[in-house]
Symmetry: C2
Subunit: 336 residues, 2 copies
């Protein structure tokens, strides 16, 4: 994992964050023309490594052909975050960051560190897709192609409520949270476990746990309870609670319409990239019915619904047929 120093970085909220950094990882080599770059931002609570299962020789995201950049989001505990920032911006005093700030930082990384002037593709899923929409809207001429996978330009009211009630409030209501100035993240482990239970409840599609169906069997768990602990609790427990609150609030406030006076249709009309919106059947977070509307607002955009038993979790690459379906969309997008 590399670190890019942003220096005194002016955030959208008006605050300048001194010594701001973002993490990143790359695959492949930037060519002499600097025209083979792909940007692949990350999902909430994730580390860029989680996206590497999409990258492979002979596949659409081919590192022998493309220079693939996996940036880390503000709040991910490696990029500037409440947990790693110096006073006066440490912990609960960390300033408000927006998806637009992530994108401004990534733009700075790509243009200043490498002199890239156009991306072949920007893609992401979930919060990575929020970033994809923001990049394609904010820097239209910088983005040749874009793919939003299980995402949207901004979270729906349901998804905003999800972020607020399941991630933010579950943590901030803990008596040890102390406005973000907790003594030790482990004091908040109860909140992270409850968050695990609530995400186990709301992220898989309805029917996932149904008797006779028991989809946790397909992905290597020995019982329903085993999947709750070894998948969900194991995912959230290592994370810093305050950093998660920052990431969730950032996702909740995502809105490229800020670029067009609050008019989402006008904002999405700025996009010049060849665009693909991909949604999964049963994804409560970004339902296909909503993805179809998003796609209709982008000039040159395809819409694909992938039938999956994993809903929003499909992007974790749990079923080989889902991976093939995503690869097909990306191959089609990249072919001309």
């Amino acid at each position: 994992m590399e670190i890019f120093n942003l220096g005194n970085f002016k955030l959208e909220c008006g605050i300048t964050l001194p010594n701001a950094v973002i993490s990143y990882k790359t695959h492949g080599t930037l060519n002499a023309e600097k025209d083979n770059a792909i940007l692949f931002p990350c999902f909430l609570g994730g580390v860029p490594e989680a996206l590497e299962s999409y990258i492979g020789e002979g596949r659409p995201l081919d590192p022998t052909k493309y220079f693939i950049v996996l940036p880390g989001n503000f709040g991910n505990s490696i990029s500037s975050s409440p947990s790693n920032t110096a006073s006066p911006f440490e912990k609960g005093a960390f300033p408000e960051v927006l998806i637009a700030d992530d994108i401004n930082a990534q733009y700075k990384l790509l243009t200043e560190l490498w002199g890239i002037t156009e991306l072949q593709l920007v893609l992401g899923w979930s919060v990575g897709a929020l970033q994809t929409f923001e990049m394609a809207t904010r820097y239209p001429s910088f983005v040749k192609r874009a793919a939003s996978i299980a995402g949207a330009p901004r979270p729906s009211p349901w998804t905003q409520l999800w972020l607020k009630s399941i991630i933010e409030e579950t943590i901030t209501s803990n008596e040890h949270y102390n406005g973000g100035f907790y003594q030790n993240a482990s004091l908040l482990q109860g909140s992270l476990r409850r968050q695990a239970h609530l995400t186990a409840l709301t992220l898989p599609p309805i029917g996932f746990y149904r008797e006779g169906q028991e989809c946790w069997k397909n992905i290597g768990f020995s019982s329903f309870e085993d999947s709750i602990i070894r998948f969900w609790e194991a995912f959230w427990l290592p994370q810093d609670p305050g950093d998660l609150v920052t990431q969730a609030k950032k996702a909740r406030l995502a809105d490229p319409a800020r670029l067009a006076g609050g008019d989402i249709e006008k904002a999405l009309a700025r996009i010049t990239a060849k665009f693909a919106v991909v949604a999964f059947t049963g994804d409560n977070m970004f339902p296909p019915a909503e993805g179809k509307i998003d796609a209709s607002r982008v000039a040159n955009c395809s819409f694909t619904e992938i039938t999956s038993i994993y809903g929003h979790l499909a992007t974790f690459g749990m079923a080989s047929e889902d991976i093939v379906a995503i690869d097909n969309v990306l191959a089609n997008l990249l072919k001309d």
Copy 2:
């Protein structure tokens, strides 16, 4: 609201609860033959009055024809509950109660207070449906007809996780909960508000809050946030937190299979009532696909899926067409 004194009431867990009571309300008059009684148990967090919108002259639940009994569940703050029971069973020391205990108490009320030997109909929705299945399984010859509306014989793994994570853990994790021995229910208002946000998230069907759809408009709210506060917070805030934990755990442990050595098919085969299972499209809690399986396990059972935009909330009678659809099922069930 009337109170029926159960005396020293032996619970399924083996504890005898002294001076146990259940609340009830009736509509109509028991005839001389004592063969016109209908039992209509209540949902979680609800009061029997909430069911009165189903009762009306000329409708299936006609009080000029039937004697309709609306019992209150253990844990509803009027029937024996943590909040109203004397030492040594007060508050956090209230014994474990099961749906089977509710049903044993209701059976005692119906048989001992009025001498009823057979019910024309037992019906309920959600936790009321758990009770309907328990009554029809536990006392088969007592139940001539039964209707489970948005319910099941026992909660699915998803619904068990819902009860545990959204109702139980949101309350018991509060630092003021103190194992149920909190000084004042208002100390826990933050938990009840978060519970409101989480139920707002998980009980309506996906799409309920969608931009352009905004179903809260149909039921008299001025914005998304207005519906969260004036519908959801207003529903949970007046309730006693410990009583809710008792109700949720009781629902989570519901299982008529206990009557047949854990075999749910064998348990449901005990039912002799003419049975109707009704499910609503988009009900996450009791999905139609699962209701169909439940119905297939009962000898003389119809299955009806009602298309509604309200999912599990349809039973609140939010749409007149849903009320008509339910009335049709009940009319059909009662006609012979």
